[in-house]
């Protein structure tokens, strides 16, 4: 799960997915790049959905956030550390609220996700766009969350999510055709110089997170350059949170617009609706 901004509704979607997996009888793993499941956001104090987890869920969280009750089954203490202590893998044995937090680096998150996903277990990662490196090459699905908190108008929100999905969908480069490999990140300035030079070769970055600009700038540049990546990603769906702290978007129109722009099935877990390809 990645979001176009803070309060895009990622955690609400994670909670909905967790509930759906539990209803389907499928044990799953859960981890996060940040800190989630706490009653209020640690940064801005806004209320956040806590994770009410059912037995069988395997989660990763720092030692200091392991609840005293109901007791969890401690599966492993990993070598990964967060600011809140070493990350522990634990299994829920009795239903209860849990707060989770993750390591600061993509590499560590990737190792944790791999440990959670052993035995083919479905694993949910409450992630961030700049931590996509935690995903395995092409294997894992990305769900993009956007919400009314992300942009001043519905149109802006749709533009942002459209640009982000387009960025995440950067196609793999064609080894048979000439290319320019970009070491590190493709900055806006570097992209502008390619545009000025009317560069026709493929511009290849490591993956979508190595494009250091988004929004309309990305859309404009992508229309003029043949942007490619070494490691293609797989965005599979979008979600919308129509109600932000300061504004509300019309839910059906929002979901429809996001689906049309991205071509992805777009879920509104608040309204229990879906727009786009999956709706049919």
């Amino acid at each position: 799960m990645v979001g176009t901004s803070k309060n895009a509704g990622k955690s609400v979607v994670i909670r909905a997915l967790a509930e759906a997996l539990w209803r389907a009888g499928e044990a799953f793993g859960l981890c996060t790049i940040g800190r989630d499941g706490e009653a209020a956001d640690a940064l801005d104090g806004t209320p956040k959905p806590r994770f009410f987890l059912r037995p069988g869920t395997l989660l990763a969280t720092p030692t200091s956030l392991v609840p005293r009750s109901p007791a969890l089954e401690i599966v492993a203490v990993t070598p990964e550390r967060s600011a809140l202590g070493p990350i522990v893998l634990a299994r829920v044995r009795a239903p209860g609220f849990v707060e989770i937090a993750g390591p600061p680096s993509s590499v560590a998150l990737r190792r944790i996700a791999a440990a959670l996903g052993e035995d083919g277990r479905f694993t949910l990662i409450d992630g961030a766009v700049d931590r996509i490196a935690a995903l395995r090459d092409g294997d894992d699905a990305i769900v993009v969350a956007t919400g009314a908190a992300s942009a001043p108008t519905l149109g802006h929100a749709v533009d942002d999510v459209g640009a982000l999905v387009a960025r995440l969908r950067l196609p793999a480069y064609d080894a048979a055709r000439p290319c320019v490999r970009v070491a590190g990140a493709l900055t806006a300035a570097a992209a502008a110089s390619f545009v000025r030079a009317d560069e026709r070769r493929q511009i290849v970055v490591r993956d979508a997170t190595h494009v250091a600009f988004g929004g309309r700038a990305f859309t404009d540049v992508a229309a003029r350059l043949d942007l490619r990546c070494e490691r293609a990603l797989r965005p599979v769906a979008c979600t919308v949170a129509p109600l932000g702290i300061d504004r509300a978007f019309e839910p059906r129109a929002f979901a429809r617009a996001v689906a049309e722009r991205t071509g992805l099935p777009t879920f509104d877990v608040y309204a229990g609706t879906v727009a786009g390809p999956a709706a049919a």
Partner: protein, 532 residues
């Protein structure tokens, strides 16, 4: 660990390599190393005892068992913070019990590996067995830990009551959710915040729905609990509180058991660290076929077929054999010989063996007697003082030497490698002789390598010669690649260290070596002509 050598000396005599080769594998071993001190003069009895123990471990434990011991120790988490908290009356958490269980597993594994007849007198605490048995109630076959009902029958009762209360609350809530879904004409509403579209409602928002926020086209809602659901929720929360109390009581009980064994387990941590260090050294001794050295009290060193392991490893990687060195020496001695003949290797070998003994290790030699030193110093090439380029090579050597002479006590090990070679030969010779006399007055033991003639005689020291170029294999054609040229020289070189007359003139094979290394023929011939 405080070392009797500085960084430059450590590099020059291979002690830095040695410390890396015996680096402990786990946290306990690393902490043990921090507590360790090297053996110095006066520690001879303890050093003999320690090296004998390493030697015995190397002989009695095979590679597989040493590896298993080190792996078991490395896998053991450090329980000392938890032990401290338990001793202070704190109640430990489940992660603490998990880690303590893993620690006790490792301790048990170590005890089992040592129980099979090996090192019976090694003092590994047997403690922890009772605590391990206690914590076993929480271990699953996959070695995870859970505060299981088996710890206390009361846990099962309160958890069962909680499960029933949770089910009752879920049922009450589901009834409300389903009723609202029927009222608004959808299959299911979300159990949490959900949206109701205004245009989908034929009337007001149904009873049992709380509106959290209103938007122009919809309401953000949540299920409002009715009296029965509130009562079920209260019962659930009360049941959860009873579970929490019961779980905490079990943790308190377990923590008290931990506190009872805390002292013994903390001691076990130290012993594991020492055992890690011992196993590492034993592995080293086995790998390099080391032997037990004598540690004389007097300033005398002797070794037979000793190997300077860092060089032996390097040569091995290049497919070349190392020529061991033998030496008997009391006080200082002078080594002369051709370039590439092993003078410096002889100095390094002496320093390496001294470092082994200082670190409590058997030595890589067929036989050896190596004393302990308070100070081991490398003087000359490679020991120039750091100066940011302000000093010449000679200046750097002199400043480093000054520091050594100012700090060193009686009987240091001094390894002097071509000191003052970069100044005028006449004054360099005078300085070297003066230095050797000063070292002798301080009771130093060691070797000084030089190309200068007459040093041993002038300083009144024994004279050894290292290396001598026998006839190089005949060959024609273009110069050999470096690797092949070095191998050809090595086949022709006699690296043995031999005592010769004090006044013997050092062998010089510089031109032959330069030619073998491919220097242009005309340059070699001009040099020969110059020598007449």
């Amino acid at each position: 660990m405080t070392l009797p050598w500085d960084a430059a000396t450590g590099d020059a005599i291979g002690a830095t390599w040695l410390l890396a080769a015996i680096a402990p594998g786990g946290a306990f071993g690393r902490q043990a190393r921090e507590r360790e001190r090297t053996f110095r003069r006066g520690d001879e009895a303890r050093a003999r005892e320690r090296i004998a123990l390493v030697d015995r471990a190397a002989r009695e434990l095979d590679d597989a068992r040493l590896g298993a011991l080190r792996a078991a120790i490395a896998a053991a988490p450090d329980p000392r913070a938890a032990l401290l908290r338990a001793s202070a009356g704190g109640v430990l958490g489940d992660v603490d019990f998990f880690e303590l269980s893993r620690f006790l597993d490792s301790l048990g594994e170590v005890a089992a590996l040592l129980a099979e007849g090996a090192l019976p007198d090694l003092d590994v605490p047997a403690g922890g067995a009772a605590l391990r048995a206690t914590l076993a109630a929480g271990r699953t076959p996959a070695r995870t830990f859970y505060l299981d009902d088996g710890f206390d029958p009361a846990l099962a009762a309160v958890r069962s009551a909680f499960a029933a209360a949770q089910a009752a609350y879920d049922a009450a809530r589901n009834r409300l959710v389903e009723r609202v879904a029927r009222q608004v004409g959808v299959d299911r509403v979300r159990d949490g915040e959900f949206v109701l579209m205004r245009d989908a409602l034929s009337g007001p928002v149904p009873a049992g729905v709380r509106v959290l926020r209103e938007a122009p086209t919809y309401f953000l809602c949540e299920i409002a609990l009715d009296e029965a659901a509130v009562a079920a929720l209260a019962a659930r929360d009360a049941a959860a509180a009873r579970v929490a109390d019961a779980e905490e009581a079990v943790r308190a009980e377990l923590s008290a058991r931990v506190a009872e064994e805390a002292v013994e387990l903390a001691r076990a941590c130290d012993v594991l660290g020492e055992l890690d260090a011992l196993c590492t050294r034993a592995q080293f001794a086995r790998r390099y076929a080391c032997t037990l050295p004598a540690i004389p009290l007097e300033s005398r060193v002797s070794f037979t077929d000793a190997r300077y392991l860092p060089l032996e490893e390097t040569l091995g990687r290049h497919g070349r054999a190392y020529s061991p060195v033998s030496l008997e020496l009391a006080g200082m001695g002078v080594v002369t010989g051709p370039n590439m003949g092993g003078k410096t290797a002889a100095l390094r070998t002496l320093g390496f063996l001294a470092a082994c003994v200082a670190l409590g290790l058997p030595v890589p030699a067929a036989a050896a007697g190596v004393p302990l030193f308070d100070d081991i110093a490398w003087i000359g090439i490679g020991a120039e003082a750091a100066d940011d380029g302000l000093l010449s090579a000679f200046g750097g050597e002199v400043v480093a030497l000054r520091g050594f002479l100012e700090r060193t006590g009686p009987r240091p090990l001094a390894l002097v490698d071509e000191f003052a070679r970069t100044t005028s030969p006449r004054e360099g010779r005078a300085l070297l002789i003066a230095l050797l006399e000063a070292l002798r007055e301080r009771g130093a033991l060691g070797l000084a390598s030089t190309h200068l003639a007459g040093i041993a005689a002038a300083a009144g020291l024994p004279h050894f010669t290292s290396g001598g170029l026998r006839a190089l294999e005949a060959r024609d054609g273009p110069p050999l690649a470096l690797e092949a040229a070095l191998a050809r020289i090595a086949r022709a070189m006699d690296y043995r260290l031999t005592r010769v007359a004090e006044e013997a003139v050092p062998a010089a094979d510089a031109l032959a070596l330069a030619e073998a290394l491919g220097l242009a023929h005309d340059v070699i011939e001009r040099a020969r002509a110059e020598l007449g």
